[in-house]
Amino acid sequence: MSIMQHNGGSVIAMVGKDCVAIASDLRLGVQSLSISSNFEKIFPVTERLYVGFPGLATDVTTLREVFRYRVNMYTIKEERAIEPTIFTQLVSSTLYERRFGPYFIEPVIAGLQKTPSGSYEPFIAATDLIGCINFAKDFVVAGTASEKLFGVAEGLWEPGLEPEDLFETISQTLMNAVDRDAFSGWGAIVHVITKDKVITRKLKGRMD
């Protein structure tokens, strides 16, 4: 098995009506041995922007710190919060710096992008481990259960979901996908990002 599958774990993000959701499982393992059922892979970047790091656990921790540093530097220099599109480019270029010795992470980004008129529009993106960006209009998936996530999401997702419906859709997609994946599962966490608040819920699901 490759390094990408070493610790297991999956992340998914979906677009809704004036909201986005990002969710992941909570497992950390070493091959088939499960170590922790409380390993979070999704981190807040700003109040309306979250990033998920499925992949090699050691790189999850490293990249979290790398991006905390780089986002802080950006915020100080520019004197404003980083926007999702800019952050996506930052992720891409940071990963491509390690083109020939990459971090084994496939980031998933979800947030609300400020428009010139002052409103917010949903934004999601994912990259591969060397920073090639996938801007999707519907949903993005990554991690050991990615094939399963694609299958279920393609069946359940529909455009224009309200926050509570989006929560149900992303939760069902994630849980049913990870239940068919030996390397993902052991609980899940879901963040639904709306204009004025972020709803975070931990899910139990099957703990086996």
Partner: protein, 252 residues
């Protein structure tokens, strides 16, 4: 050098197997069974044909879907059909579904050390009139289930079916329980959604969709009437009935 001398060690290899993509799926209802498969046949990134059936009517109450190595699949179906014909000649009736399942197991295990490289799903009507699905691995290990997906897009479709057929991760409303069997119209909708989803995200799935519906003896057919071009394939009156629905899938 290939000069017949023994001065250089040589190796030759012949690989008797290939994978031909595609996906199959079957769902059992209370008094019906639905067995479906796409019709694309591919080898690597090339499409060999857009119409190669993977689902076959065996009797008026049994349908077999075969996925994996197409050459083995076709040969295996041919041999099963031959055995069923011999059974008809010997017993003057069609072999019951459970017996066909056991026959398939012994035929597959008979090739334990040079297997048919195929995943089989057998669907149809049991002798008691209930819908049934039997799924097999390439060497004959089998199980009766309510639903099963196999093939290239198994990993895309099976978790969706867990959710929509078995209601996994769903809580029933207070005081109620989830239905054990879904109505035919719901099952057909789920089958079609499964294949359009798989077609969207898997390159080896697409082109055409063949859905076989087996109805138990005397069951009304009104749920089938909404579908365009339903063909009846039943051979004998007053028994279980087989129908075929053909649909298009995206070709890219």
């Amino acid at each position: 050098m290939p000069d017949g001398s023994f001065s250089h060690p040589q190796q030759r290899q012949f690989n008797p197997y290939t994978e031909n993509g595609g996906t199959i799926l079957a769902i059992a209802g209370k008094d019906f069974s639905v067995i479906a498969g796409d019709t694309r046949q591919s080898e690597g990134y090339s499409i060999q044909t857009r119409y190669a059936p993977k689902v076959f009517r065996l009797t008026d109450r049994a349908v077999l879907a075969v996925n994996g190595f197409a050459a083995d699949g076709n040969m295996f179906v041919k041999k099963v059909q031959q055995r069923l014909e011999w059974y008809r000649h010997a017993h003057a009736k069609d072999m019951p579904l459970g017996a066909i399942a056991r026959l398939i197991q012994t035929m597959l295990y008979g090739r334990r050390f040079f297997p048919y490289y195929v995943y089989n799903i057998l669907g149809g009507i049991e002798e008691d009139g209930t819908g049934a699905v039997y799924s097999f691995d390439p060497v004959g290990s089998y199980e009766r289930e309510a639903c099963r997906a196999a093939g290239a897009a198994q990993s895309l479709v099976q978790p969706f079916l867990d959710n929509q057929i078995y209601f996994k991760n769903q809580q029933a409303p207070a005081g109620q329980s989830h239905p054990l069997h879904l109505p035919l119209s719901d099952v057909l909708a789920i089958v079609i959604d499964s294949f359009t989803s798989a077609t969207e995200r898997h390159i080896e799935v697409g082109d055409g969709l063949e859905i076989y519906v087996v109805l138990t003896k005397g069951r009304p057919t009104q749920d089938l009437e909404g579908y365009r071009g339903v063909k009846e394939l039943t051979t004998r009156p007053d028994g279980d009935r087989v129908f075929l629905i053909q649909r298009e899938l995206k070709k890219d």
